[in-house]
């Protein structure tokens, strides 16, 4: 019996010729990641457990992104704990205000993840790096602490669901619409404990940013990871970023999948997920009349340059609706700078939007755009749970940057 792409990467990192779904293994890790929410917990555990050495100072990334620049004293204390730890062990990859970006946009951009690698991060959206053909998955702070100390992690080898993509996306349809469509189809636990392997001729037409967005939300279907095959676009993305050898894995032709879904990309409409679960997906034609109070464009899901471009092209020369507060957050310093170079920041400000320094901020109801009772937001983020962006009686509608920008202008959920 053949292995899936994920199983092959896990087998190689466990030093085994073969693994099977359900097998429990210990695997070597190429990178471990934590942020300013989960990092402090890991750091405290590290000391409490009596560890005195990190496994490899060049393979640990600490990214201050959730509540920075610090929103309050408690957040400042949390960042300080991470900063102290990073200095104590002279960590190579500590990203603070000035160099930081939202972790899952930042790490690929900096070349810290490459094809074939195994990565854990104390953040559920660590699954993003599957876009590069890596195995990556979210864990908690204790697993991460063990990773920092030992460079290893335990895994149950996942079974897999294959998504066989055909066709090409229509204009104004993006990776976000694809993943919302898929989650709508299989549900928020449709891939529980499993790999989501994306394959088929449709992959070639998807940009790297589309792939990052799709892999990013594998967790919203309960998946352990989402993963794409490595092609010319992947290699082109890694050129100039990744300065080390990496290995390309392919699924065996006889790999076993629990289910195979064929998805015609050309049939997907702009898609919106209604409150309060990402699975409540509806095509834009079935949305109806939903007035809104706020739009957020950014996050680890949709804060990359092509997301900014999609928003800028729609907002260019127009004004957002006077009742809609529109908050645009480029995900990294590099994306921010590129937005300035291309004139997007001027476009956004002239349209009546605010543009923020990179932060996770409003996505998880931290700061920078909290909702009052009864308010509605169209957001390019990844979760629309009860109270996710503020008051328990507020609502988040998940959508692509194009839908979000069009909605900001219309004052209600609108097609681009």
């Amino acid at each position: 019996m053949g292995m899936t792409m994920t199983q092959k990467i896990l087998a190689a990192h466990a030093g085994l010729d073969e693994v099977r779904a359900g097998q429990l293994i210990n695997a070597k890790l190429d990178l471990v990641l934590a942020n300013d929410i989960t990092g402090p917990v890991s750091v405290r555990q590290f000391d409490k457990a009596g560890f005195t050495e990190v496994f490899d100072k060049s393979r640990i990334a600490l990214v201050m992104d959730h509540f920075v620049p610090n929103k309050d004293i408690k957040s400042a204390e949390q960042c300080k704990e991470c900063r102290t730890f990073a200095k104590r062990f002279d960590l190579d990859h500590f990203y603070d205000v000035g160099t930081m970006g939202i972790e899952h946009a930042l790490l690929p951009e900096k070349g810290l993840v490459a094809a074939g690698e195994a990565v854990i991060g104390a953040d559920s959206h660590t699954c993003t790096y599957g876009a590069l053909g890596a195995f990556s998955t979210g864990v908690g702070s204790t697993d991460l602490c063990a990773g920092i100390a030992t460079g290893q992690g335990w895994f149950k080898v996942p079974s897999a669901i294959q998504f066989y993509l055909t066709g090409e996306l229509r204009p104004y349809v993006s990776g976000k619409d694809v993943i919302l469509h898929i989650i709508g189809m299989i549900g928020v636990d449709g891939a529980l404990y499993k790999s989501m392997e994306f394959t088929g001729p449709g992959v070639a037409a998807l940009s790297m940013d589309d792939r990052f967005t799709i892999a990013n939300m594998a967790i919203e279907a309960g998946g352990k990871n989402g993963i794409f095959p490595v092609d010319d676009k992947t290699i082109e993305y890694m050129v100039g970023r990744v300065h080390r050898d990496y290995k390309v894995y392919e699924a065996d032709p006889d790999a076993e999948y629990e289910a195979v879904y064929e998805i015609d990309l050309s049939a997907i409409e702009p898609t919106v997920a209604f409150p309060h679960l990402p699975e409540n997906a509806r095509p834009i034609s079935a949305v109806g009349d939903i007035p809104i109070d706020q739009v957020v464009i950014g996050s680890c899901t949709n804060g990359r340059i092509s997301d900014m471009q999609a928003a800028a092209e729609i907002l260019e020369g127009r004004r957002v609706h006077p009742d809609v507060r529109t908050i645009i957050i480029p995900a990294t310093q590099e994306v921010y700078l590129e937005c300035i170079r291309r004139g997007y920041v001027e476009t956004f400000i002239n349209a009546g939007c605010v543009v923020s320094t990179p932060t996770c901020g409003p996505c998880l109801g931290g700061y920078m755009g909290i909702l009052a009772a009864g308010e509605r937001c169209v957001s390019t983020t990844n979760r629309n749970f009860v109270g996710r962006m503020g008051h328990v009686d507020s609502e988040v509608y998940l959508a692509s940057p194009a839908v979000a920008a069009a909605s900001a202008i219309a004052g209600r959920i609108a097609a681009p």
């Binding site: 429990l24 929410i37 989960t38 402090p40 917990v41 405290r44 555990q45 409490k48 457990a49 009596g50 560890f51 959730h66 509540f67 929103k71 309050d72 408690k74 957040s75 204390e77 949390q78 991060g121 104390a122 953040d123 559920s124 660590t126 979210g138 864990v139 908690g140 702070s141 204790t142 697993d143 602490c145 063990a146 100390a149 030992t150 335990w154 928020v188 636990d189 529980l192 404990y193 967790i219 309960g222 352990k224 679960l277 998880l364 109801g365 931290g366 909290i370 979760r383 749970f385 009860v386 109270g387 996710r388 328990v392």
Partner: protein
């Protein structure tokens, strides 16, 4: 009996944002953090929960964020065990890693109602619904995970 208490029943897809909203994730002290446990799904939870009580839920309990604060505040609130049909995978790992007992048991999840008296024996995986006089058996943990639990959590299993 390892656990004896009252059931607090919830539905499917109880997410980590309602278990502990992100607006509190700047709090380091577990006891202070636990004041907000389940706040966005059940604002009376803290007032009604007693030591040894059990949370009973449906599919995909703990979906969403990787925040370990979620099993931590449940443990800190005195809850003796969470029973669900299935758990989201990161929550499952986190609970085991910090020593918060969890059991997968679809029959118990269906059979136990809010307020029922429940007793649990972890060695056998037996869940007794005292109120209804029913008994359910949970899915046993694999040996690999049992070793982590027996060691008192993941870090103890490594350092020992």
């Amino acid at each position: 009996m390892d656990v004896k208490g009252k059931a607090h029943k919830y539905g499917n897809d109880v997410d980590t944002d309602v278990i502990i909203p992100a607006r509190y994730l700047n709090i380091a002290d577990p006891a202070e953090l636990a004041q907000h446990c389940m706040e966005d799904i059940d604002k009376d939870f803290r007032a009604k929960v007693s030591k040894g009580d059990v949370i009973v839920a449906g599919d995909n309990f703990g979906c969403g964020s990787s925040r370990e604060h979620a099993p931590l505040v449940i443990k800190e609130s005195g809850v003796g065990c969470v029973i669900a049909t299935t758990f989201a995978r990161i929550f499952y790992r986190n609970a085991i890693n910090i020593g918060m007992p969890i059991l997968e048991c679809p029959e118990a999840s269906r059979g136990i109602d809010d307020g029922d008296e429940v007793e649990i024996d972890f060695s056998t995986g037996e869940i007794r619904n005292v109120t209804k006089g029913e008994t359910y058996t949970a899915v046993p943990f694999p040996d690999f995970i049992k070793r982590i639990i027996d060691a008192g959590g993941l870090l103890n299993s490594i350092t020992r």
